[in-house]
């Protein structure tokens, strides 16, 4: 178990820059999730920490020691991959023993047996121990590869989208198992994923990567409720936050592409400080309310049913936005609706830089 710190890490592959001046800190015992789309540099970050790649610039510390010159074997980290993480031709037991039989550990056989037995029990794979790995189902395979990580009691667990290849039900089960396991072991986890639900549900801290740069680091709550910029706002949350180009003039907010205009209340006005002019208005679907007295009029454009609720796409002028509504409300296509935005949950982003203009957003930036 250990504290991990990346200082100004840059990684280039030829002309392509995968990571640019990345600073990242993972505290001891933390479940840290690195979230981002494909190609954002998540896997590269993980491989750098594992010692499978060398950074172009910057340093990596594990437990306060610079490990730049250490090979993968010496760093004592465990790696769980999306696929190919088990050795073929080996049985489950041989796979679990493999890391313990390495020369750098020189463990006695009874010790090995005991650790394998304990890991197998923790992950409920005892009945699979003598089976060849190509006879396992996808979920069993990922359990075994997590087992291969925990037998070693490594300083850090690195997980590269370990759940992405599993079907939805199994993913849900393993998600909570993994979180339980991390709490039980008190281990430091770095979990890489493109799935924001995994990030929000498991992470103590989430780092959102955008094209090789950290867009925001924070608790899932902070990431969701106080996105630092339009990128984080648009990436996190399902459905994505509505981002509408708007004009803020005095206490009037107007979306020119549709018939959206409303008075900005004093609380919101205070939150936005002195900003005015063209902005990007951000409002989550669940903060758009049906309101007979609302100033926004729109027509139903599309409906997605999600059981207890439905996500309704609304159209006004050329402007489309989404709202979450209880499933019991009748929504016929083209039906007009009156709505209002919950101003306490409304975000305004700089139209050019995309940064959050609200005061708490700035306070968050200042604090970092």
């Amino acid at each position: 178990m250990a504290h991990v710190r990346l200082n100004g890490i840059t990684k280039r592959f030829g002309a392509h820059t995968a990571l640019e001046n990345l600073d990242l800190e993972i505290e001891d015992g933390q479940f840290f999730v690195l979230l981002g789309p494909t190609g954002a540099g998540k896997t590269t970050t993980l491989r750098l920490i594992a010692g499978l790649e060398k950074p172009t610039a910057g340093s990596i510390e594990i437990g306060g020691v610079d490990v730049g010159d250490w090979g993968a074997a010496e760093r004592d980290v465990a790696l769980v991959l999306q696929q190919y993480s088990l050795y073929p031709r080996y049985t489950v037991r041989q796979n679990l023993e493999f890391p313990l039989k390495s020369n750098i550990r020189r463990m006695a056989q009874p010790d090995i047996d005991q650790r394998v037995a304990r890991a197998a029990k923790t992950l409920r794979i005892e009945h699979l121990l003598e089976r060849k790995v190509d006879r396992l189902s996808g979920g069993e395979m990922q359990r075994v590869s997590i087992g291969r990580a925990i037998v070693r009691s490594p300083r850090i667990f690195l997980m590269d989208e370990p759940l992405s290849n599993l079907d939805a039900k199994l993913r849900e089960t393993l998600r909570s198992e993994l979180k339980d396991l991390q709490m039980k072991l008190g281990a430091t986890f770095l979990f890489v994923t493109h799935d924001q639900i995994e990030a929000m549900s498991m992470g103590d801290k989430v780092g959102v990567l955008n094209d090789g740069r950290l867009a925001q680091v924070g608790t899932p709550y902070e990431i969701y409720h106080h996105p630092r910029d339009t990128y984080v706002a648009g990436f996190v949350g399902s459905p994505a936050m509505n981002l509408l180009p708007a004009d803020l003039l005095g206490d009037r907010m107007r979306v020119p592409s549709g018939a959206i205009e409303f008075a900005v209340g004093p609380a919101l006005r205070a939150r936005l400080g002195r900003s005015s002019g063209p902005i990007t208005l951000g409002i989550r679907a669940e903060n758009v309310h049906l309101d007979p007295a609302g100033s926004i009029e729109a027509r139903v454009w599309g409906v997605e049913n999600h059981g207890v609720e439905k996500i309704v796409t609304l159209k006004t002028g050329d402007c489309l936005f989404k709202a979450t509504m209880p499933a019991t409300i009748a929504t016929a296509i083209d039906e007009p609706m009156r709505l209002s935005f919950d101003q306490s949950r409304l975000h305004a982003f700089d139209a050019a830089t995309g940064l959050n203009l609200s005061l708490e957003g700035r306070a968050l930036e200042a604090a970092e």
Binding site: Q83, Y84, S85, P88, P99, S102, N103, S145
Partner: protein, 318 residues
């Protein structure tokens, strides 16, 4: 409709089976001819039409292994009775076995056969081994000018080898490698290496690098990961490459003929050289050829599991 279709397919299947059987018979016919000639008495070897039914005997194999001369008078009954059974078979043919003192003189065949084995096995092991390492390097590391290097390796196959036979012979003579085992081994490695590198590169590329990386993180060195994880995965490719390299080295005729004459001569140039001495004894030549076919057959048969088995990649499904 379905019944018609499936019966149609069954007919096609039967036809295909008949076709395969016919093709197999055609391909096996020369081998049968050689094998049957090897077991025929000398008198039946050249009959027209060929004799199909005969009492098989192994006289030709005995003749193949010992040095013998034609006798000009019949053997006396006492000597015949005292001779071992295999020598009697030779005496039956009006020949006698040459001896130095009490030791039977062996013919050239056993030593040529051993030469073939030594040279083919050594060159195959080295060519496949070097090819495997080279292919692994090309497959896993960023090599400067990789495409050019691989093309250069391949380009050694672009010339028919015989084109360089004369310069090679002169060079070999200058450095004293003619008629040596090591000379032919080097030559056959050179023939096979490009093939081995390219074939193994294909197999190595198929092995996910995640396996070794997992091993590296698990506390193993690159070399240990290679031997423990990569090599077992590459076994199928290694077997296939080895079979091809072995066959090439085993069958090579032209260079063996030019570069060797006695000490390091292999079986291919030796067998036909026996044609020249007197009236050819086809049964002995057939016996030599038949034995010569066996190692390749055994080697291929032993590795057939590897050659046929689908590559068992992907402990985690793609």
């Amino acid at each position: 409709m379905a019944a018609v279709k499936s019966s149609g397919r069954a007919a096609v299947n039967r036809l295909a089976v008949v076709g395969v059987i016919i093709a197999t018979l055609i391909f096996l016919a020369p081998i049968y001819w050689i094998a049957s000639t090897a077991f025929k008495p000398r008198a039946l070897a050249t009959t027209v039409p060929p004799t199909v039914l005969f009492q098989p005997e192994i006289t030709s194999f005995i003749k193949l292994f010992v040095k013998r001369v034609q006798m000009n008078k019949a053997v006396d009954p006492a000597t015949y009775a005292a001779a071992p059974w295999w020598e009697q078979r030779i005496m039956d043919n009006g020949e006698r076995v040459l001896r130095t003192g009490d030791n039977v003189q062996l013919s050239g065949y056993p030593s040529r056969f051993m030469n073939s084995l030594i040279i083919a096995i050594t060159s195959t092991v080295l060519a496949v081994g070097m090819g495997t390492f080279t292919a692994y390097g090309f497959s896993r590391f960023r090599v400067k000018g990789e495409a050019d290097l691989l093309f250069f390796i391949l380009s050694t196959r672009m010339l028919p080898p015989i084109v360089v036979a004369i310069p090679m012979f002169l060079m070999y003579r200058a450095v004293g490698l003619t008629d040596t085992h090591i000379g032919l081994i080097i030559l056959y490695i050179a023939f096979n290496l490009s093939f081995s590198v390219w074939l193994m590169k294909g197999f190595m590329d198929e092995i996910p690098k995640e396996y070794e990386e997992a091993a590296l993180v698990d506390g193993y060195t690159r070399m240990q990961a290679f031997f423990k994880i990569v090599l077992p995965e590459a076994a199928t490719g290694i077997a296939a490459t080895a079979v091809f390299c072995f066959i090439t080295a085993w069958n090579e005729y032209a260079f063996a003929l030019i570069m060797t004459n006695r000490r390091a001569q292999t079986a291919p140039p030796f067998i036909p050289s026996q044609l020249g001495s007197g009236l050819p004894d086809w049964t002995v030549i057939a016996a030599g050829t038949f034995l010569f076919l066996l190692p390749v057959a055994i080697f291929t048969f032993a590795l057939r599991g590897h050659l046929l088995r689908g590559v068992t990649f992907g402990a985690i499904r793609k």
